[in-house]
Subunit: 646 residues, 2 copies
């Protein structure tokens, strides 16, 4: 086994008032709750049967397979989150539970390495007959990711060994050789998992197989057609018969716009960036940059939500960003964190870290109640209880829901939050990049010397960051500090002395190249003004509207603070907006207050629907709260984009 190259995991510990709250919720609520779900111990909830499926596959229980065809992945996601959690907070009982579950996985594995309970139990002779729809490779990918995380967290190899046997077997099944399937998964995931597996195991086969899946995808003759014919399936594929649903409409390197199911897309884009870095393939680098630009400049909500359409939980087309009918799945924004991280590994550009930050503080954690007990799968930017009765809004829930039968988003949030330490820094030979501002402690090796950096901040509520540098002896290295894209007037001091940074910003990073001494203190000041954000005028839905952002946090109005009919509130384009930290509100958040104008509804006669009269407007105080924290009080309307007036 290769040395663990994922130093970020081992060497950085989050110690942050904002994120430790999130982490605690995941550890206290989400992980134990999911464990009960996997074991069918939740009353009033559809059974998961996921662990029982493994017992049946292992021959240790009778019964039928039950659940979605990808039920195994729920077990994988739980194990992955547990792994990260154990790394952050050791817990003997939890580790024992995980070990026993891994043992069960081992017993459920078939002699040839195959490990999938659906086909083992339900359709034993039918493995790999519907790779387009039936998620075998997707489940394998999640299990591999979990195995990697578990090894990194605990040093235990068993899970990795199980998955190596499975991956080695898969490697014999897929390929261009005689008798092999010249195919690729219908739900991408294993591609990025195999790159991680390669990192941990050093085995080139896994990298090669990942690249095979990417290289083969979308080429003619089309695998899905061949596979359909082989299984005698003549039905058109449900998504308008378009393989773009799973980004198989074109060879990967010819894809220039994000299309189809957004989570599938983002997992693939993540793998493309991984492979571009690992293999030095410039065409893949170019593809990932082209797709990045399309997604983040033409198809992303201000909350970092992705997927404008409910049909196929999918991207639609450039600048199509409706606020009340989007899909904007929590998992898609989480996947955006993964992809942004890989783009940052490819090139140190602040825009990647900016998008990662936008996702972290908005469209990802909006998926979970502050108490970790309820979840949004869909994260729209505008909700009214009334509109959610429309059939074309049926996917838009006006309040977070309990655990779902298909529980993808909660464990995905759990793994993102428990692995946050990975996204803060990158350590090169002579440069330490500071990407995200989060209270933390990290140990690094720069130019061969040990360096620790302690970060103190009250982000995202305050823009002051202190970086305490400790070295055993004076050491030359570059500290590359990201200046957030939202920040207009960043200031940096070293040991109290201001330094000019204007000329030293390259692609969003200030490079400070000096000999660092023990206890050097770098202070960053990123002034957090309330910003009135407008969207590119090609966006139909936000013409005449404005969003509020402060630091990385996007705000919204809620009915509980502002009354109903939020569409009747008009924010003046000038005028004071005040930010204030409210300790008692929503676990402590900064709110934004100011004066707006409101159409007086009571002066309009209920007898007339249309009239040639002007509205009466009256000044009102509005209060905006962080978008991620909405719907934690009384349910009601919510709006991110506010009508604007002069």
């Amino acid at each position: 086994m290769k040395t663990n190259t994922s130093k970020n995991l081992a060497n950085v510990t989050v110690q942050d008032s904002f994120w430790n709250q999130q982490l605690e919720v995941v550890q206290r609520e989400v992980i134990p709750y999911q464990w009960k779900a996997l074991n069918d111990e939740l009353p009033d909830t559809e059974p998961s049967h996921a662990i029982e499926n493994f017992r049946i596959a292992a021959g240790e229980s009778d019964g039928e397979y039950y659940g979605m065809v990808f039920q195994d992945s729920d077990v994988a996601k739980w194990l992955e989150a547990v792994a990260y959690s154990l790394h952050v907070t050791p817990d003997e009982t939890l580790e024992k539970t995980a070990d026993e579950l891994i043992d069960l996985l081992g017993r459920a594995q078939q002699n040839d390495g195959y490990l999938n309970t659906y086909y083992t139990i339900k359709e034993p002779g039918k493995r790999w007959t519907n790779v387009r729809d039936n998620h075998e490779l997707y489940c394998a990918g999640h299990l591999i990711e979990a195995a990697v995380a578990y090894y990194e967290a605990t040093g235990k190899r068993k899970f990795v060994d199980i998955m190596a046997r499975y991956a080695d077997y898969i490697n014999t099944v897929f390929g261009d050789g005689p008798g092999q399937i010249q195919g690729y998964p219908g739900h991408q995931e294993i591609e990025l998992a195999l790159v991680k597996f390669y990192h941990v195991t050093g085995k080139e086969d896994y990298l090669r197989l990942s690249k095979y899946f990417i290289d083969k995808r979308g080429k003619q003759p089309h695998f899905y057609e061949i596979e359909k014919e082989r299984r005698g399936d003549s039905k058109p594929f449900w998504w308008n018969d378009d393989p773009g649903y799973s980004q198989a409409h074109l060879p990967v390197r010819e894809q220039t716009k994000a299309v189809g199911h957004s989570v599938r897309a983002l997992y693939m884009y993540t793998a493309i960036a991984d492979l571009a870095k690992e293999t030095g393939d410039d065409s893949l680098r170019e593809t990932s940059e082209t797709l990045w630009n399309n997604v983040t400049r033409k198809q992303m909500y201000v909350t970092a939500g992705l997927g404008s359409g409910e049909f196929g939980e999918a991207f639609t087309f450039d600048y199509d960003l409706p606020n009340d009918t989007s899909y904007t799945e929590t998992c898609a924004s989480i996947a955006l964190v993964f992809w942004a991280d890989r783009m940052l590994k490819l090139a140190k550009k602040g825009e990647y870290a900016d998008v990662l930050e936008r996702a972290l503080y908005n469209g990802t954690i909006s998926g979970m109640n502050l108490d970790g007990k309820k979840f949004f799968y869909v994260n729209p930017l505008e909700v009214s209880q009334a509109a959610s009765r429309r059939h074309d809004h049926k996917h838009v829930k006006p309040v977070r829901q309990g655990w779902f039968g298909c529980a993808c988003c909660p464990p995905n949030l759990a793994r993102m939050i428990t692995s946050l330490n990975r996204y803060l820094y990158t350590e090169d030979i002579d440069t330490l990049y500071v990407h995200q501002y989060t209270g933390s402690k990290g140990s690094f090796t720069l130019n061969g010397e040990a360096v620790t950096v302690r970060q103190e901040t009250n982000y995202p509520w305050e823009g002051n960051v202190a970086l305490h540098v400790n070295v055993d002896q004076p050491t030359n290295f570059k500290l590359a500090i990201r200046v957030p894209g939202w920040c207009q007037d960043a200031k940096v001091t070293i040991n109290g002395e201001a330094i000019s940074i204007v000329d030293d910003i390259v692609d969003g990073y200030v490079y400070i190249d000096r000999e660092w001494k023990d206890s050097d203190l770098v202070n960053l000041v990123f002034p957090m003004e309330v910003q009135r954000i407008h969207a590119n005028p090609h966006v139909r839905e936000t013409a005449g509207q404005v969003a509020l952002q402060r630091g990385p946090v996007v705000y919204c109005l809620e009915q509980v603070d502002n009354g109903e009919n939020l569409h009747n509130i008009f924010l003046p384009s000038e005028g004071k907006l005040e930010a204030a930290f409210e300790q008692e509100l929503l676990n402590g958040v900064v709110t934004i207050s100011g004066e707006a104008l409101r159409i007086v509804e009571t002066t309009w006669s209920d007898d007339s629907l249309y009239a040639p009269v002007t509205y009466q407007k009256t000044p009102v105080q509005i209060k905006a709260v962080p978008y991620f924290a909405w719907c934690n009080r009384e349910p009601g309307e919510m709006r991110v984009w506010l009508n604007e007036t002069k």
Copy 2:
């Protein structure tokens, strides 16, 4: 046979530059084209097979039934439009064709009077087993309406006799007696047809049967449940298992909000008003008023479009009026004309005629190209070519389509336009009501004396109307002139002398009670200012937006006049808007021009989707055209509701 009581048909002839254009298009294009469609003579169009079905049912042709279960109704609608057209413009060849078709219907009729080709050919033993879904009574209703119209137009009784046999048979099938079906149609239509049939035949049975269907509807135990059980159907009904789809969720008199399929609803509401008038049933009168208020004050678009939701082509809920995803079917606005006409018969209130007028000049005729060759089924108030690619906009066609397989709207438009003369006047014993302003000539009997009124106007482009009254001898009667709801400052002169009308307006009508002399001339002036219309502030979608209306005509911006990205145009809340008649444009229409502000798209960097910058706006001239005439030039974006700025 009873004397024809529908005097309006016989006695009023439209002679109007606006409507004669529409009529000519219907006679020149729609009626002949539909005839070809019914006979499967159109290349590149799905066959109708409607007439062939009758031949097969008559035993004169071999072959299988083909088409929708309600294919017969297409034949009925054609015959009805032909009847009105023959009344307006006699045409021997067309009448002969219609006579022959009626003969065929007679030969297809079964011995017991039954006349439905689907069940006769395809499921001979299964009549009346699925009255909820299979449209037998709906087709019967349309055939009855056609028969009534044909008799009124030609004086020929054969079609009426055929339908009397069928109606008499239906009257034996449905009822509370032993062996009868205690049910009602899943698609209302026959209720209003039976009232017409009663008028023509004088046979009380038909009125009673109509009332039976209304009285029975929605009561418990529920007919749909009984019928389902009888045919062994255990599937939930596709519309969320909700009988509200066909307004059978509650007994009719307990219904207070419009729900479900909008055309079904409106046909039923029309019948309710009919029955309220015919039977004097106050509870039905109250129901029709309550539903009228709900529809027109809470669920109607400014274009008189109805049906905010695509799912079920249905009403949604109060104040839910999205502009880009509505269904707003042409047929629903046509049905609103029918209903408004019946409400006017119940009570002479200007608001009924106002809504009728709004439907006539906006949401009905918008369904047809000016050349009568293409049709919108769905009439949204905002269209962009791009957005119509969204799956949740798939019903919103960005351009009118050719003849459809399910061709409900074109023949419905044809019958509305050919029967327009019915909606202009009502003649009471001593009062002549002038509801609509349309060049026309009418002969009436008032207080026993013959009176003719010739109306001259350039409506809807000019608000001046001349009413020339001719009498054989001086006659006392009341002339009740509707003052349009949109008109702020109406003026009336008689023989050149102004009369004060302020105190004489009752429910929107000016009553002029005098002794009329031959050649009296009444001049009406309804100043047509360009009006900035706002919607009730409960409407979410139009907050901060304004619509333009002049006279009864609602306007829109089209891309062809104003460039793309119409959402970036902001109309100042004050400032001059000029109206001008353009002879060469769109067959001659009044357009509205003025200055607006437009967001400058070119100054926004394509690299950024969101930015804390204000938009640059530049003054532009805009040009608005009548909504009904949109999409008759280059296809492109369209908007009725414009963003507004101070």
